[in-house]
């Protein structure tokens, strides 16, 4: 009797534990094995696309890239100082011997952001147009957003082993949520009277979407793109754990060797890239803002 109390009352009963984790592992593994050819094809195409992006970035002379950032920052903010500051920050990254690593990181970020926008925007539209899709997808999005980012790493590795391909998958899953959410939010919260006007003048749903909702939601959608970029940036760094080369890998290596200085520099480089990306996309979002119709 006392043994029973000990096993079933004082402690959570061991007999009730089930091995959900194990069976998921098995299922994913089985899936990976069964679809080895498909996954392999995906992997090689991903590698070649990201390779192409990286090749393009590397093909650009560093001075052109720096000047392009300076010019873009000036164009968006109309302040020379901002542009020059960004340029100097990039030069600092180069001086730290991290130029190539930065381009590696950027190429994965670019690829995953493009994927996020291409998938996330239509998903956001779907969420807006169909209440049913909304009911199904909302909890999924909530889960995706609250799940610790590490969790995405393991299945990505199981499917695509290590390297940039699983990094791209994990990054895209992690970073797509704000794109979907902000798109749907922007489309839903268009001024009610404006939507009534669109209907009253005989717009079809599609016309309302294209001619009124999307243009009106543009600033919100751009804010979504901005958030997606920032999240992708953060995740790509984490993806060093599954073998994604770049700035994150430099930190990881330095950490393993307990070299504070060596890990600090790529850390700063990440901050620099993130800040520049953030400010530039925010400026783009701001420019797309329609002046509010203050009556």
């Amino acid at each position: 009797m006392s043994k029973w109390i000990e096993e079933y009352i004082l402690q959570f009963p061991k007999a009730w534990e089930f091995r959900l984790g194990d069976s998921v592992d098995a299922a994913v593994k089985e899936f990976a094995v069964r679809n080895r050819d498909t996954l392999g094809a995906i992997k090689s195409s991903v590698i070649s696309v990201i390779g192409a992006i990286r090749g393009t970035l590397e093909g650009i002379p560093w001075i052109v890239l720096v000047l392009a950032v300076v010019a873009l920052a000036w164009y968006l903010t109309r302040r020379w100082r901002v542009g020059v500051a960004y340029g100097l920050m990039l030069v600092f990254v180069g001086c730290s011997g991290l130029w190539g690593h930065m381009l590696q990181t950027l190429s994965v970020v670019i690829a995953s952001v493009v994927l996020c926008v291409l998938l996330g925007f239509p998903l956001g539209v779907l969420l807006t147009m169909s209440p049913r899709a909304n009911r199904v997808l909302r909890p999924v999005l909530d889960t995706m957003q609250t799940m610790p980012s590490w969790v995405y790493l393991v299945p990505a590795v199981l499917l695509f082993s290590t390297g940039t391909t699983p990094a791209l998958l994990a990054t895209t899953i992690y970073a797509i949520v704000p794109m979907v959410r902000m798109t749907s939010h922007g489309l839903l919260y268009v001024d009610a009277e404006m939507l009534e006007a669109a209907r009253a003048f005989g717009s079809t749903r599609m016309q309302t979407l294209i001619k009124v909702q999307i243009p009106q939601a543009k600033p919100t959608i751009m804010a979504g793109v901005n958030q997606t970029i920032m999240m992708a940036m953060a995740m790509v760094v984490t993806c060093a754990l599954i073998g994604a080369n770049g700035l994150g890998m430099e930190i990881l290596l330095a950490t393993n060797q307990v070299q504070v200085g060596k890990s600090l520099l790529p850390g700063i480089a990440i901050v620099i890239v993130a800040v520049i990306l953030d400010r530039l996309t925010q400026a783009v979002a701001k420019r797309s803002e329609v002046q509010p119709d203050g009556a």
Binding site: D191, E193, M194, E196, A197, A198, R199, A200, F201, G202, S203, T204, Q207, K211, V212, P215, Q216, K218, V290, Q291, P292, D293, G294, A295
Partner: protein, 392 residues
């Protein structure tokens, strides 16, 4: 001449909420909207609303917020669907139209002007005005051409490329009206179009609308909460209260024959007495006598100017009171000074007092009210006739 009915609402009801059947039963039994809401939780927005609007007529619906006026107007282009009853445009039931028919109706027959303009802020004036044509699939040049015609008509020529946020409120609503006219509709639904504008711009826009109406002869359903506006624009006026129509009549008919106290109260709110001040309605021409004048002089003065009484002032034009012709005669007979016969119970008001506040003062007053400046200087008088002419 046979009446040409363009818009018709036939026993239209709109009830929001789950317990509709019960709400309907209660309303039919004569309970009020509040009682129904309390008991069933359902909101009755429209109950048994019926009216007809003839071609070329301006039909104004007036009511306070929550009276259902904005709901009924939205039934005519099916932005809202009635719970029961039918809505007809040119004899066709709008509520049973297919999607395609409804699009056609909205694109060609019925267009709408909104309280807060409902303009597309990401589009220029021209693109806003052309919107109705654009969704029809007309070519860009044709859209622009026809849009320009109406931009011109509402007086916005030269502004067509401007962004919406650069316009004033009045100009925004001109864009709204141009947008509604561009699709050449038979019917204009105007949902409190001028309520968001300040009073001066509002009356300018009302005038403008009447001008356009005279030119184009549209059938207009006009929603407002301002009785003056309803009476000014409406050929006929409907008053709504708590989801029901209380009275439908011409402005004249409603003024002379209000259906109940509620209507009377509403009409009361329409009078100009809340607008005009004492200074604006007073008569400057007054028979004036000085207190030291002798009675014969005063009488002659009254006779010459055709008054039966004179206002007595001191040498600095400060009002002292009134002498009547009778007392002046008496003074002359008894050869007493005029000053002894001054009646000092004259009602006086400052020049900025509202005409509406003066009316109660005149009840039982023997003399016209005097308009007097702070230092006592007499400016003029207000007769009952002058007050009445500003009421009507």
């Amino acid at each position: 001449m046979e009446r040409d009915v363009v818009l018709k609402a036939d026993k239209v009801c709109k009830i929001y909420g789950a317990n509709r059947a019960e709400a309907e039963r209660m309303m039919a039994a004569g309970h009020t909207k509040e009682e129904v809401q309390k008991k069933t939780g359902a909101t009755v927005a429209l109950w048994d609303v019926s009216f007809e609007v003839n071609r070329g007529e301006v039909f104004a619906i007036i009511g306070l917020s929550g009276s259902g006026k904005s709901t009924i107007i939205r039934c005519f282009n099916q932005l809202l669907r009635p719970t029961s009853g039918h809505v007809y445009v040119e004899g066709r039931a709008v509520d049973s139209m297919s999607k395609k028919e409804l699009l056609e109706l909205r694109r060609h027959k019925v267009s709408m002007v909104f309280q807060n303009f409902g303009l597309f802020t990401h589009r220029s004036v021209l693109e806003n005005v052309a919107y109705g044509l654009e969704v029809r699939g007309l070519s860009k040049t044709e859209c622009a051409e026809r849009a320009m015609e109406f931009i011109d008509m509402v007086g916005l020529k030269g502004w067509e490329q401007s962004p919406i946020h650069s316009l004033s409120g009045g100009m925004k609503q001109r864009v709204g009206i141009a947008r509604a006219l561009t699709s050449d509709p038979e019917v204009l639904l105007m949902d409190e179009p001028f309520s968001a504008l300040d009073p001066l711009v509002r009356s300018e826009m009302q005038f403008e609308l009447l001008k356009i109406q005279r030119k184009l002869g549209k059938t207009i359903l006009f929603i407002t909460h301002d009785m003056n506006e309803a009476f000014k624009l409406g050929d006929r006026v409907a008053i709504m209260r708590d989801a029901k129509i209380v009275q439908i009549d011409t402005p004249e008919g409603m003024t002379t024959n209000p259906a109940d106290d509620y209507v009377r109260q509403f009409i009361g709110s329409a009078d100009k007495t809340q607008v005009f001040t004492a200074q604006q309605v007073m008569i400057g021409h007054v028979c004036l006598v000085q207190e030291k004048d002798n009675p014969s002089n005063a009488l002659r003065q009254m006779q010459r100017e055709g008054f039966s009484s004179a206002y007595v002032v001191d040498n600095r034009m400060r009002l002292l009171g009134v002498v009547t012709a009778e007392s002046a005669v008496e003074a002359r007979q008894k050869s007493r000074p005029l000053a002894e016969y001054i009646e000092r119970d004259v009602i006086s008001v400052p020049p900025d007092k509202l005409a509406g506040d003066i009316i109660p003062l005149t009840v039982g007053a023997r003399f016209p009210v005097a308009v007097v400046e702070e230092d006592g200087t007499l400016l003029g008088i207000i007769t009952k006739a002058a007050l009445l002419s500003c009421v009507s």
